[in-house]
C-alpha cells in the first residue's frame, strides 16, 4: 500500500460516517417542512467532497461505504433483493461519479477561475444525483412491480416518488457545496493544491 492510499481510505471512511450522520441531521432539519421531507437529505455532500478531493475513486468508495453503512446499521428498508441492491450499494456508489470532474474543478480553482469551477461542481453533483435517481427509479419499478397489482402505472409512481425528493436533494447539495467551497476551499481540497 502506498502512503497516500492509507490517508484516502481513512478520510473516505470518516466522511462516509459523516454522511450517515448528516442524513439523520437533515431529517431533523427538514422533516417538519413536509411529511416526506425525511427523504430529502444532504447526506450526499460529504460524498461529493470526497469525490472532488480524491477523484472518482474516492467518490465511488465513499458512496459505496455510505450505502453499506445504511444496511449494517439497520436504517435501510429492504423489501426485495433487487430493490435492496439498487437502492443502497449501487445508488450511493454512483453518486461518486461526480469525481470525474475533480481534475477540472481543482485546475480551475488553481487558475483562479472560480466560476468555471462552480459550474463543473454543479455538473458533477447533477451527474451523481441523476445516476442515483436512476437507481431509485429502477428499484421503484421493481418494487411497485412486485407489490402493486398488474396494470398499474408503476413507472409513473416511481418517477413521482423518487423524482421529487431527488430533485430537491440535488439542488440543496449543489447550493451547499458551492457555499462550502466559496468559504473553505483551503480545507476541502488536498493540501498540495492550496
Amino acid at each position: 500500500m502506498k502512503n497516500g492510499n492509507v490517508l484516502m481510505m481513512v478520510e473516505v471512511a470518516v466522511f462516509a460516517a459523516l454522511a450517515l450522520l448528516l442524513d439523520m441531521v437533515s431529517q431533523f432539519i427538514f422533516s417538519r417542512i413536509w411529511p416526506q421531507g425525511g427523504s430529502i437529505s444532504i447526506a450526499m455532500v460529504p460524498v461529493f467532497i470526497m469525490a472532488f478531493r480524491w477523484g472518482i475513486k474516492g467518490g465511488l468508495l465513499s458512496g459505496l461505504l455510505l450505502g453499506l453503512l445504511q444496511i449494517v446499521t439497520g436504517f435501510a428498508s429492504i423489501a426485495h433483493p433487487v430493490q435492496g441492491f439498487l437502492d443502497y450499494p449501487l445508488a450511493f456508489t454512483l453518486v461518486g461519479i461526480a469525481g470525474v470532474f475533480a481534475g477540472g474543478i481543482q485546475n480551475s480553482f488553481l487558475k483562479g477561475n472560480r466560476k468555471k469551477s462552480y459550474i463543473l461542481m454543479t455538473l458533477g453533483i447533477f451527474a451523481g444525483s441523476f445516476l442515483r435517481f436512476l437507481c431509485h427509479f429502477a428499484s421503484g419499478i421493481v418494487f411497485f412491480g412486485s407489490y402493486a397489482p398488474e396494470g398499474q402505472p408503476v413507472a409513473l409512481y416511481s418517477l413521482v416518488y423518487n423524482g421529487t425528493y431527488m430533485a430537491i436533494s440535488f439542488i440543496l447539495s449543489a447550493i451547499i457545496a458551492v457555499l462550502l467551497y466559496s468559504t473553505a476551499h483551503r480545507t476541502l481540497f488536498k493540501k498540495a493544491l492550496t
Binding site: V6, V14, A17, I33, T73, G84, Q152
Partner: protein, 265 residues
C-alpha cells in the same frame, strides 16, 4: 435530538438470536429475502408467518422496537394494501359502495402482499436488531472473502466500514457540540424560513469537516507508523466462531425453502 439517534438499531440482550454467528444470520436473511417470493397461497403464508414469529420470539426484542422498525414503511404497506384492494377486479364481488368495489382476489392479494412486506421488514430488522454493526461487517468480510480472487478489495472495505462505525459516535458528539455552539450564537436549525436553514448548515459543516480531516490525518499517521500494509497476514481481535446452532439455523431455512416449494400452488 441526539438521544434519538441511537447508534444503529442494535438492541443489546441475551437471546438465542443474539448469540448466533453473524454469518449464519446474514445467510439466513439473504435466503429468506429470496424464498419469501415463493409464497402464494394460505398454506405457504402460514408456514412463513410461523417461521417469522419463531425468529422474532427467539430474539427477545421488545415489540416496541419491532413496531418502530415498521413505522417508516407503514404507509407503503397501507398503500400497497389499498392498491390491491381497489384495483384487483377478479373473483367474487364482496362489497360495493358507489364506485368502490372490493373483490375477493383483491382482498386476498392485499393481505398477502402486505404480510409479505411486513415479514421481510421484520426479518431484515431482526438481523440489525440482534447483531452489532461491527459483527455484521466482520461477517460480511468473511462471506465475501472469496471475491478477493477477482481483485475486489474486501479487506480494505471491511476495514473502512469498521473505521466509519468507530467514528459515528465521536462525530455525533462533535456535531452536537457544534450545533449547540452555533445555537448559542443565535443560529436557528429547525425553525425559520428554508433559506435561513440552508445557510445555517454551512457554519455547522465547516468546523465538522475541519475536525474530520484532522482526525483522519492523525489516524492515517498512526496506522502508518504502526506498519499497516493491507490485509495480507493481518490477525484479528474479534474472531468468529461457527457452532452447531448456526448450522441448525441454516438447516431451518432450508426446511422452510423445501416446505414452500412443496406447498405453493
Amino acid at each position: 435530538m441526539m438521544d434519538k439517534m441511537i447508534f444503529g438499531r442494535y438492541v443489546p440482550a441475551e437471546s438465542p438470536m443474539h448469540r448466533l454467528d453473524p454469518r449464519a444470520k446474514l445467510l439466513m436473511v439473504f435466503i429468506f429475502v429470496f424464498i419469501i417470493f415463493l409464497a402464494n397461497n394460505i398454506a405457504t403464508y402460514v408456514v412463513i408467518g410461523a417461521f417469522t414469529l419463531l425468529i422474532l420470539n427467539m430474539s427477545k426484542i421488545p415489540a416496541g422496537f419491532l413496531i418502530g422498525g415498521l413505522r417508516p414503511v407503514f404507509y407503503l404497506i397501507l398503500f400497497t394494501f389499498f392498491l390491491h384492494l381497489f384495483f384487483t377486479k377478479e373473483g367474487d364481488l364482496l362489497f360495493k359502495w358507489n364506485f368502490i368495489e372490493v373483490y375477493e382476489n383483491g382482498l386476498r392479494q392485499g393481505i398477502f402482499i402486505s404480510l409479505r412486506f411486513a415479514f421481510l421488514i421484520l426479518i431484515t430488522s431482526i438481523l440489525t436488531l440482534t447483531t452489532t454493526p461491527i459483527s455484521i461487517t466482520d461477517g460480511l468480510e468473511t462471506l465475501f472473502n472469496p471475491l478477493k480472487k477477482w481483485k475486489l478489495p474486501v479487506h480494505e472495505l471491511a476495514l473502512m466500514m469498521s473505521i466509519s462505525l468507530r467514528f459515528i459516535p465521536t462525530l455525533m458528539e462533535e456535531t452536537d457540540k457544534i450545533m449547540k455552539a452555533q445555537a448559542a450564537r443565535g443560529t436557528e436549525f429547525s425553525t425559520g424560513p428554508i433559506k435561513n436553514r440552508i445557510k445555517a448548515i454551512v457554519p455547522l459543516l465547516i468546523p465538522l469537516f475541519v475536525s474530520s480531516f484532522k482526525r483522519a490525518e492523525e489516524l492515517a499517521t498512526a496506522m502508518e507508523s504502526r506498519g499497516y500494509r493491507g490485509g495480507e497476514g493481518r490477525t484479528k481481535y474479534r474472531l468468529l466462531k461457527w457452532e452447531s446452532k448456526d448450522t441448525i439455523l441454516l438447516a431451518a431455512i432450508m426446511v422452510l425453502t423445501v416446505l414452500l416449494l412443496l406447498l405453493r400452488s
